[in-house]
């Protein structure tokens, strides 16, 4: 799969297979093509060349199916600043066709630690709180493919724990997680496999087994990316 923006190739012919239920971390420096790869899988972008298949379905042929069964946490918080935290979540629930009762919304906000500020406008939140609110959207559904783009950004220790729990829960119900991170230690801690990217290609596709200590694996990948 390849992706070009203007004259610049963001992805230069990458190929990756992820098994159902697997947690894969894609690591690499800024501009290495990680987010582009994730956005193609999520149907936010059409690949310039090649194809991506999710659950056996081509993402360009049936984007509706993919959107139904996947969830993407983007770099951007994608919130409406003039709506309250509860209203932002209510809107997301309605768009997802999920129950949007106040009790459901409050329970979800409670999960991400924002119950106390449910009726405050998102514009006034710190970046960490806004990030938590965008993560709360993921708790409204149970996708078969969870795509996380730099999920640990702006988060404090509790927020990081929140994302870790989300990954664990997703894995526990047999769903797949693709996680993009430039923080190699954090990104790879829960991963079954770590893949490194540089300049739009995979540097060292690794099929590391679970018994490989993830920290050591991350260091190896870091070394290969930095080389």
């Amino acid at each position: 799969m390849a992706q070009r923006f203007g004259q610049r190739w963001a992805l230069r012919g990458v190929s990756l297979t992820v098994a159902r239920g697997e947690v894969v971390a894609i690591v690499g420096h800024n501009g290495s093509g990680k987010s582009t790869l994730l956005r193609i899988v999520a149907t936010a972008l059409r690949p310039t060349r090649g194809a991506a298949r999710v659950l056996g379905v081509d993402v360009t042929a049936a984007p509706g199916f993919i959107r139904e069964h996947s969830a993407l946490l983007t770099h951007d918080v994608a919130l409406y600043g003039d709506l309250t935290a509860a209203e932002n979540l209510t809107f997301a629930a309605r768009m997802l066709g999920r129950p949007a009762s106040r009790s459901v919304i409050d329970a979800t906000l409670d999960t991400v630690g924002l119950r106390d500020v449910a009726d405050e406008r998102a514009r006034g939140f710190s970046s960490g709180m806004q990030r938590r609110l965008s993560i709360a959207r993921l708790y409204l559904r149970t996708p078969q493919l969870l795509l996380l783009d730099e999920p640990f950004n702006s988060l404090d220790a509790q927020g990081v724990e929140l994302v870790s729990r989300l990954v664990d829960d997703t894995r526990a119900r047999g769903a797949t997680v693709l996680l993009v991170a430039h923080d190699l230690q954090r990104g790879s801690v829960q991963a079954d496999r770590v893949v490194a990217m540089q300049d739009g290609t995979f540097v060292e596709p690794t099929d590391a087994s679970l018994d490989t200590p993830n920290a050591a694996l991350a260091s190896r990948v870091l070394a290969s990316v930095s080389a």
Binding site: A42, T43, A44, G64, R67, E68, L72, T74, H75, D76, V77, A78, L79, Y80, G81, D82, L83, E87, F91, A92, R94, M95, L96, G97, R121, Q130
Partner: protein, 228 residues
């Protein structure tokens, strides 16, 4: 996904846009003020002659709605550009027509509210009394607004990804609005003077025909426009 679920999504977008607007009123205040200023300035340009003002009233009213409406359309998508909410909006499941229906209904309601302020002002500034056929005038306003807002919503979506969207939108939109503008102005003008020549009916039918074409075309083309 059922039709009812997609209809729920359209309602959610309408609710979200109106809630954000109700909370800040930034868009309504600026658009209504802009409309008032346009009416006033056209009045100054046309001079104090009451008869001349009355005969120009229909055209000035529609131009006012058009110019001020463009501000509203830009703002409507600006809401989605903050924090890149548009990408998230597009990643929700469901049919694209639901997004368009939500945006269209929010814009329609907004422009109708602006007209509630603009029309009485136009009546006062341009010495226009309430005509006998006021129900028909309201019908023309409805049809003209539907055509205008339908096109505006599509073209604003098209321009939203451009950095020069404020300039691009009127450049794209205004040429396409010529048929609606002519039909709406002619029908309104005829009805304001009680339609002595019996012309209003044919203009209204033409306006309705344009509306049908624009609405069908807009729902068809929107998924391609919004996907980029």
């Amino acid at each position: 996904m059922s039709f009812a679920t997609d209809l729920g999504r359209a309602r959610a977008i309408l609710w979200k846009d109106l809630t954000a607007e109700r909370r800040t009123k930034a868009n309504f205040n600026s658009v209504a003020a802009m409309a008032g200023l346009i009416l006033l300035f056209f009045g100054f340009a046309l001079g104090p002659d009451a008869k001349g003002l009355r005969s120009a009233a229909a055209g000035v009213l529609w131009l006012t709605v058009l110019f001020s409406g463009v501000l509203a359309f830009n703002r409507s998508y600006q809401l989605e550009m903050e924090g890149n909410a548009l990408e998230q909006l597009l990643l929700y499941p469901g049919e694209r027509w639901a997004l368009f229906a939500g945006k269209l209904s929010a814009n329609l309601l907004f422009i109708f509210l602006v007209e509630v302020v603009t029309i009485p002002l136009a009546g006062i500034f341009y010495h226009v009394a309430i005509p006998d056929a006021w129900v028909s005038v309201l019908g023309v306003l409805f049809l003209g607004t539907v055509g205008f807002v339908t096109l505006g919503t599509v073209y604003a979506a098209m321009a939203s990804r451009s950095r020069a969207r404020e300039v691009l939108l009127p450049l794209l939109l205004f040429p396409m609005l010529v048929p609606v503008l002519i039909a709406a102005t002619e029908a309104t003008g005829a009805l304001l003077i009680d339609d002595p020549m019996g012309n209003a009916g044919s203009w209204i039918r033409l306006l309705a025909a344009f509306d049908v074409i624009f609405v069908v075309a807009a729902f068809w083309v929107f998924p391609f426009v919004i996907e980029g």
